[in-house]
Symmetry: C2
Subunit: 188 residues, 2 copies
DNA sequence: GGCAACGGAGAACGATCGTTCTCCGATGTG
DNA sequence: CACATCGGAGAACGATCGTTCTCCGTTGCC
């Protein structure tokens, strides 16, 4: 098996297992077995579990933000509608069968600051998501798009948290309604 | 040593160690050693690590909500000021040296749904916090206090998340400013 | 004093897991 | 064919950890 294919299969297996069962609960051998890759290959590609987890997070970051952006783009050109579409997508995500919260918040909870590699991957993802929301807010007619984006970011992160824990089944709808209030207040 | 004293010492040690280093990273023996309690006593009081962790979370829930409520009470009688005081307290908390995010969100990330006992403790805490915010919102002159409280809850949870991960050093201030917008929009 | 129950200290056990090593067959080259 | 290289399969190793067990001194009761 070639390196590239082994890497792909490992990342697919890692995403499925680590996300649904947690990072600590999934052994290197579980990922290896599901990917159908030998130990040798795995350690050749990722010299430690930490590296494999960081690679999984980076791959998930790209896919996740891609899905958000696709849904936002499908919502059209109106900047307000585009910002609100983020919450519609969150609602669809929360309703998925295998939804288990934000993989990055969960990873942070599991690893905390113990692994610089993983912490960096988590920060990178959250920064990129926030940057994306700032971009969306800059298209909105307001005098302080950064302030608006900060509020939208907090609502989105809060919705992910309460949806994961299961406290509020309508977290996405509540976040969207609140975001609507923010947009109305910010509109120039 | 009496049972009650052993239990107290265990919970104090558990809170310090589990919160600062994470649940999986701290062994039963670490807690036992810091508390100065024998293995026998520990397993007599808490028949498994799961039970000890759940007890730690319940104890922390009481202390944490007590601290929030004390700060809110110190803010006076005005319902708007009291709601905003929640975010002031979050800011103080985020700035503490040993701040490592919300213990309950972290615990959820570590354990996920694998432990019914721990999941229940996490949900209980988040429900009680939300109930508290609903109470504060009911004192505010608005036609839909539940909707207001939902928005405030999402902002608070989001602030905890981004403050923990370290994406936004001013998370509490941003959340407070956003909450202010919500209050103005909701005021009857 | 004799004895039974208790509990402290910490070793022992068993399981899990990250990482490395060994064995061996396949493959390509002279 | 002879040989060297590679990589797959999976055993082995070493560490960690939750839980239980053993040993032994103390205490309270008759």
């Amino acid at each position: 098996m070639e390196l590239a294919e082994a890497s792909d299969r490992l990342l697919v297996a890692a995403e499925r297992l680590y996300y649904t069962r947690g990072i600590a609960a999934v052994g290197i051998d579980d990922v290896r077995a599901e990917a159908g890759v030998s130990m040798r290959r795995l350690y050749q590609l990722y010299p430690s579990k930490e590296h494999l987890v960081a690679a999984y997070l980076d791959a998930r970051d790209v896919r996740w933000r891609g899905r958000v952006a696709a849904h936002v783009d499908a919502a059209g050109d109106d900047p307000g509608e585009r910002l609100l579409a983020v919450f519609d997508w969150l609602g669809l995500w929360f309703a998925e069968d295998d939804f288990r919260g934000c993989a990055f918040i969960n990873a942070f909870g599991e690893i905390g600051g113990d692994s610089p590699l993983i912490l960096a991957a988590v920060r990178r993802h959250k920064d990129l998501f926030r940057d994306y929301l700032v971009d969306l807010a800059r298209a909105f007619p307001t005098d302080a798009p950064e302030v608006l984006a900060a509020g939208i970011t907090l609502l989105a992160e809060g919705a992910m948290t309460v949806a994961a824990i299961g406290t509020d089944p309508d977290a996405a709808a509540h976040a969207k309604a609140t975001a609507h209030v923010l947009l109305d207040a910010a509109r120039r």
